[in-house]
């Protein structure tokens, strides 16, 4: 199964709150799990990424939690700010190919309200 499932489709969070986006996958050949942030009219930007042998990675206010046995991973945005309002894509890279085959989730539209 090549899919990456992502939820929720949209999310509204108060300023200062925690935003949580969840993703799930089936293919055990995935070996890298990046998150991308996309502002309207712009290309997606790599935000943070994790390897499956690590359970958590934190960069500033952004944290990835990874559960290998459950094949699930999530993005937590602490102290959410209006500037975080964007669409977030989780993704999974399939190893063993000559190129970086990356499967993207459908995206979550995050709105942080003041």
């Amino acid at each position: 199964q090549q899919q990456v499932k992502q939820s929720p489709q949209s999310l509204i969070v108060q300023k200062g709150g925690i935003s949580i986006i969840n993703c799930a996958y089936e293919n055990t050949a995935f070996d890298y799990f990046p998150w991308y942030q996309q502002f309207p009219g712009k290309g997606p930007a790599l935000l943070i990424a994790i390897r499956p042998d690590v359970s958590e990675k934190k960069e500033g206010r952004f944290t990835i939690s990874f559960n290998k046995s459950a094949k699930q991973f999530s993005l937590h945005i602490m102290d959410s700010q209006p500037g975080d309002s964007a669409t977030y894509f989780c993704a999974a890279r399939r190893g063993g190919t000559s190129y970086d085959k990356v499967i993207f989730g459908p995206g979550t539209s995050l709105s942080v309200i003041p």
Partner: protein, 110 residues
């Protein structure tokens, strides 16, 4: 540092007209290159990838084609545009494990 450029930024074309979108990468050599399409409010669909000059692989059958005439140049083309070709076209390059996207081209077919 690496930079990826795309042009034009926006394009409005009539149905049946040809298309040429260009992507160039600076600051790296022999990158893997990719073309994605993103429909409004939707996710990213991989259209083509290239692992070297003249080497193009297509992920989905479609009205578009791609070419890589130089190491850091990737071109997306069509001979006759369809309404369904409208969307946001993104070029990307990768180094092992990570892909980096360009600013995108908004194509509207009328």
């Amino acid at each position: 540092s690496q930079t990826i450029h795309q042009w034009p930024a926006t394009l409005v074309q009539p149905v049946g007209s040809p298309l040429s979108l260009e992507c160039t990468v600076e600051g790296t050599s022999n990158p893997n290159l990719y073309w994605y399409r993103q429909a409004a409010g939707r996710g990213l669909q991989l259209l083509f990838y290239s692992v070297g000059i003249g080497q193009i692989s297509s992920e989905v059958p479609q009205n578009l084609s791609a070419s890589r005439p130089q190491d850091r140049q990737f071109i997306l083309s069509s001979k006759k545009l369809l309404l369904s070709d409208s969307g946001f076209y993104l070029c990307a390059w990768s180094r092992p494990y990570e892909q980096y996207f360009g600013p995108g081209t908004r194509l509207t077919v009328t």
